[in-house]
């Protein structure tokens, strides 16, 4: 602290008058704990007396102890220069920052009539009798400072607050305090000091016989043993754990990737397992929630990567491709449990939600039967996503893992209203996972011309039997289906492919990487345009598109498209519509309704549940998988399971970046990009090394940083982690501060998180 005052203020022209009744020389002793700011408190007191034109001297009793250790600081005040170089043994004023310290050690040397100021929540009365021979003040400075937000989020600093109470004890008027804080550069803390000034309770000393407190213990020091015996000496004799008011605990926190995953995958868990134990161990964790790792590792939009704490450091961990690595390189499957009471459940629809639901049922030991309208399982995965993004073998591998668990499959069985009733009677429960309804149409003139086709039908057709396209293709829409259509059309020989989208390029819901791939492959994106007419004689030959302006923002914050009168005409030979699908269910028997993911007959629930897009409309494979799993568990449980309250999210600021080397992400191998064939474009990662980049947010990696950083050496390895020796831990918090991945926190000793 640097504080300037004019030289002549020492003589007489002081800014603050001496309080009446102040006797000099004065000795003040401050008792606190390491980290509470006791030394600064003593310095502030010195500065206050400097304002009165007095000589001061202030110093701390420095030790090797750290946070939490009992510490002292001193201030001497006199009219002339101070030559005393000793600690303060006979204090006139005692300031105690932590009431846990109150005792003979603190009161040592304080004569009757000395002034004591204590920071405490307790009332003055609870101390008045015991300390009746002292002028005794009590103030809850901690509460005031906390309320005023002085200090950091974890440590409240009370020295500027308690100085207000001290000024009152000295009998200084409030105006003096204001002036002093202004000149000390502490104006910001004045409200807290004022509050303490007003709230401090003081009892006057009782005069009469005074039995001084018992002298402080340990006047005779322990015999010092030979240095040769030091290896069996000192450390054990001082139980420093009693100094702490908070202790470190190991506690798991939620990684942002885990919180972001719609499927509920334990991402940190499987990546750490991949890093430490290989793909099979990682699969054992991943397969608990994810029946389709090879699929999701290719087609998931990966919200986990957007949340990754590494994103702001050197790039998000390539989580999607690590999942793919595990799916493609593991040779393990989970064994089904045995259920006490085996349920028979029909799952209508063999898309991602249905597969996930059936998988979970089978894993839990129940009998699942998938009733699928098409000739094979997979739904949109089989007939929607093109081969160059999701090869048949990858899908087949994931599906076989599910079927092998003992799932019964009935293909080519479209379920109608009558079948629904039958299934409900035949099975203990039914889960309907039929996905979206029919595709949206544009409603534009000429939409029924030949050559105008629904994109989903086109993709399905191309997967069954590829045909060669000629001429110019226009795709309408901005989602993944639109992009898939464009890229498929290019591969089928289209002379040109244009994607017409009514909003901006940045608004396209398709995966960004896929959009970029499409452009790289030759597709042209025409944003802010909408077809208003298709023309041609029987066969479409041109398309009229209107420019689209931006209107007012809708509920999602995106601006509503406003179709203008500015139109232009493009020649085309084929139009593919990818405008999304309707949420329509045509298999509910009369009298049935769908509410909260269940079927109702009147106000009675039926054992029929809905999962995936037909229930939620979320629209991604990963959401469908998550919802399928949760619905299956709800069926087994009889009701929807309440979500577990997630642990505290680990923010980037809680990661100790300094513990990690800057390592750019391992990119997927796309160098062998084939020249527009249906071979897979993205070959994934070349190795699993990317797993080593995971920060393991909120989850202990047993990296030993805590053990190494502990200044007292009281952290020990155990079979499953670490143990902190509470008898010696001073609660300094260094382990928590240094934990690279925020897998620890400080806890107050009464059990409250600090």
């Amino acid at each position: 602290m640097e504080y300037k005052c004019p030289a002549d203020s020492l003589a007489s022209a002081s800014t603050i008058p001496l309080p009446a009744g102040l006797t000099l020389p004065l000795e003040v002793r401050v008792h606190g704990r390491g980290g509470q700011g006791g030394v600064t408190c003593a310095k502030l007191i010195a500065a206050l007396f400097t304002e009165m034109g007095l000589h001061v001297q202030t110093f701390g009793d420095y030790g090797s102890e750290r946070s939490g250790a009992p510490v002292q600081a001193y201030t001497r005040v006199d009219r002339s220069a101070i030559s005393n170089r000793n600690k303060v043994y006979r204090p006139n004023h005692l300031i105690v920052l932590d009431e846990g310290l109150m005792g003979a050690q603190v009161m040592d040397g304080a004569a009757a009539g000395s002034q004591v100021l204590l920071n405490s929540r307790a009332s003055l009365e609870s101390y008045a009798v015991r300390f009746e021979h002292y002028r005794f003040g009590v103030i809850d400075a901690t509460a005031i400072a906390r309320e005023q937000g002085i200090g950091s989020s974890s440590v409240v600093i009370i020295n500027t607050t308690i100085l207000g109470a001290y000024a009152r004890l000295l009998g200084l008027p409030l105006s003096v305090l204001e002036r002093a804080y202004a000149s000390l550069g502490l104006a910001g803390d004045l409200p807290a000091a004022q509050q303490a000034y007003e709230q401090v309770h003081v009892s006057e000393p009782v005069h009469g016989d005074f039995a001084p407190a018992a002298p402080a213990a340990s006047p005779s020091p322990l015999a010092v043993r030979s240095l040769i015996a030091h290896n069996e000496d000192i450390p054990a004799s001082l139980k420093t754990g009693s100094w702490s008011n908070q202790v470190p605990i190991y506690s798991e926190h939620s990684a942002p990737c885990n919180l972001a995953c719609p499927a509920g995958n334990d991402i940190v868990g499987f990546i750490q397992a991949l890093k430490n134990e290989g793909a099979d161990k990682a699969a054992a964790i991943l397969l608990r929630t994810q029946p389709l790792p090879s699929v999701c590792g290719r087609v998931c939009p990966a919200p986990c990567m957007q949340g990754c704490n590494r994103a702001t450091f050197d790039g998000a961990v390539n989580i999607r491709s690590l999942e793919r690595w595990i799916g493609d390189h593991s040779h393990t499957a989970l064994a089904p449990q045995s259920a006490a009471q085996r349920k028979r459940v029909a799952v209508v629809g063999g898309g991602p939600a249905g597969l996930s639901a059936a998988y979970q049922l089978a894993l839990h030991g129940h009998a699942a039967t998938i009733v699928e309208a098409g000739p094979a399982l997979g739904g949109v995965l089989r007939n929607g996503i093109p081969e160059f993004r999701l090869p048949h073998e990858a899908l087949q591998r994931d599906i076989e893992r599910i079927v092998t668990l003992g799932v019964e499959v009935r293909c080519n069985s479209r379920v109608d209203k009558v079948d629904m009733k039958r299934l409900q009677l035949e099975f203990d429960a039914v889960i309907v996972c039929v996905g979206f309804g029919p595709a949206h149409t544009l409603g534009a003139k000429g939409e029924t011309l030949d050559g105008v086709e629904q994109g989903l039908d086109f993709l399905d057709r191309m997967k069954r039997k590829r045909v060669v396209l000629h001429g110019h293709v226009v795709v309408v829409g901005g989602g993944n289906t639109a992009v898939d259509c464009a890229r498929t059309a290019l591969r089928c020989g289209a002379a040109s492919v244009k994607i017409v989208y009514r909003r901006g390029r940045e608004d396209m819901p398709a995966i960004t990487d896929e959009i970029e791939d499409a452009e790289r492959e030759g597709a042209q994106i025409l944003p802010h345009r909408q077809p208003v007419e298709f023309t041609g004689a029987g066969m479409v030959s041109a398309i009229v598109v209107a420019e689209v302006g931006a209107g007012t923002p809708d509920a999602s914050g995106r601006r509503r498209p406003v179709v203008t009168q500015n139109t232009s005409t493009m020649v085309c030979d084929k139009v593919l519509l990818a405008l999304g699908q309707k949420s329509e269910l045509d298999l509910l028997p009369d009298g049935w309704t769908m509410r909260d993911g269940r079927a109702w007959h009147g106000d009675r629930t039926l054992p029929v549940w809905f999962a995936g897009d037909c229930a939620t409309g979320d629209g991604t494979v990963t959401h469908a998988i998550g919802n399928g799993r949760r619905t299956a568990l709800a069926v087994l449980n009889g009701d929807v399971l309440p979500d577990e309250a997630p642990a505290k999210r680990v923010a980037p600021g809680q990661i100790r970046f300094s513990h990690f080397d800057v390592t750019p992400p391992h990119k997927d191998d796309q160098t062998a990009r084939p020249a527009l064939t249906f071979d897979e474009v993205n070959l994934g990662l070349a190795s699993a090394e990317e797993a080593a980049r995971c920060f393991s947010c909120g989850h202990c990696t047993k990296c030993d940083t805590c053990l190494i950083c502990c200044p007292d050496g009281v952290i020990f390895r155990t079979a499953d982690g670490y143990r902190v020796d509470g008898e010696y831990c001073k609660g300094c918090g260094m382990c928590v501060a240094e934990c690279p991945c925020s897998a620890m926190e400080m806890q107050e000793k009464n059990g409250v998180a600090a």
Partner: protein, 386 residues
């Protein structure tokens, strides 16, 4: 002048800063620094200052910190660094180099016990290891004295008759971390007091190796010249005291500070802050009718033997208090000064405050109670500060 509330560490750094700026029209200032408790605050403060034509270089060790000072001092800059304890030990080799190359480096030492076992508190065992290598040594007793002595150290070190490093010692924590009012002169006053650094053997444009090999006779003579220059410091310091008083209006304490010593029968001789405590004890015992005085050796190298001898004359008892121990003999202050006492004087050595113990007036009273009945001196005795 302004009065600032400063720790002695910050005071030393501020004095160095003022001296640094005073050389702005000359060849500037340079400091190599490396932190160690309890001197860290000094280098921290220095690092925060804006120094026109000056640099503070944070290096990787104390050895390099002094290396920076040696190189830049040889190039003609004003130089300063600070350290403590084992940091000084690590700097040791280069301290001798700075001294033997006759470079005017100023070194502030926050005295701390040598480890291991590790101890962060004050004793003089660190600085005294450099007793015999041609560095001037001051031991200070309060914040103002420390500040003034650092300013004076630049003047002394750079005097063409001196040209050697000056160590200014303050006991760790007891002085280094104690905050008290300190009179700070204006820059113009410092500019007037400190001439621009101008050493005769400054490296010029021609590259030149310092300290090449010597034959025995050269070394013999160089040591002798160094010794004689060191002895001259006693007289030169007295001159600088006068100029300091003229410049700043206050007097630098003498090389040896006597307190009510003239008519004393018993004398307490000590160094550093124990000297202040001794003066308090003298007042107390004088009030009780005892003829006690105190002598504080402020300048330890060169040792002001004649001044000390003059104060020792006729004393019945002398207590030497050593905050150090020369293991195998006894206290260093005692062993250096006992030959200066009259043969009839009983001069007894008391080792006190080793490892940083708080040496209190009652300890000194106890020593005198032990000393006064003695008719002959005994072996050095330890006074445990508990």
């Amino acid at each position: 002048m302004t009065v600032e509330l400063l720790s002695a560490n910050h005071g030393a750094a501020l004095a160095a800063t003022l001296a640094a700026r005073a050389n702005r029209k000359g060849r500037g200032f340079c400091s190599g620094v490396y932190p160690i408790t309890p001197s860290t605050e000094c280098m921290e403060y220095l690092c925060q200052q804006t120094i026109e034509k000056g640099r503070v270089i944070r290096v990787e060790s104390e050895h390099s910190a002094m290396g920076v000072c040696i190189g830049t001092a040889a190039a003609g800059a004003r130089t300063f660094t600070a350290t403590s304890s084992n940091g000084l030990a690590y700097m040791f080799e280069n301290c001798i180099a700075a001294a033997s190359l006759r470079l005017p480096v100023v070194l502030a030492v926050a005295n701390r016990t040598m480890g291991p076992p590790w101890n962060i508190w004050a004793d003089h065992s660190d600085a005294l290891t450099l007793r015999d290598h041609g560095l001037i040594q001051f031991y200070c007793a309060d914040n103002q004295e420390l500040f003034d002595t650092v300013l004076c150290a630049f003047r002394l070190a750079e005097d063409r008759r001196v040209l050697m490093p000056v160590m200014v010692n303050m006991e760790g924590f007891i002085l280094s971390h104690t905050v008290a009012q300190t009179d700070i002169p204006h820059q113009a006053q410092v500019d007037d007091f400190l001439p621009l650094t101008d050493i005769p053997h400054r490296l010029d444009d021609v590259p030149h190796t310092l300290g090449q090999i010597e034959v025995p006779h050269q070394t013999e003579m160089h040591r002798w010249q160094h010794h004689n220059a060191m002895l001259d410091v006693l007289q030169i310091y007295a001159e600088i005291q006068k100029e300091f008083e003229a410049a700043f209006g206050r007097r630098l304490p003498d090389a040896v500070v006597a307190y009510r010593a003239e008519d004393a029968e018993t004398l307490i001789v000590s160094m550093g802050t124990i000297g202040s405590t001794a003066e308090r004890v003298v007042d107390k015992l004088r009030a009780e009718g005892q003829r006690v005085g105190a002598l504080r050796v402020r300048l330890f190298r060169p040792l002001p033997t004649e001044a000390i001898r003059a104060h020792f004359v006729g004393k019945k008892h002398i207590a030497a208090i050593d905050r150090n121990i020369g293991i195998g003999l006894g206290g260093v202050l005692w062993s250096e000064t006992r030959c200066l006492a009259d043969p009839a004087t009983v001069m007894q050595d008391y080792l006190a405050g080793l490892g940083g113990g708080d040496v209190r007036p009652e300890h000194l009273v106890k020593m005198l109670a032990d000393l006064v009945p003695r008719r002959s001196a005994g072996a050095p005795a330890i006074m445990e500060a508990v």
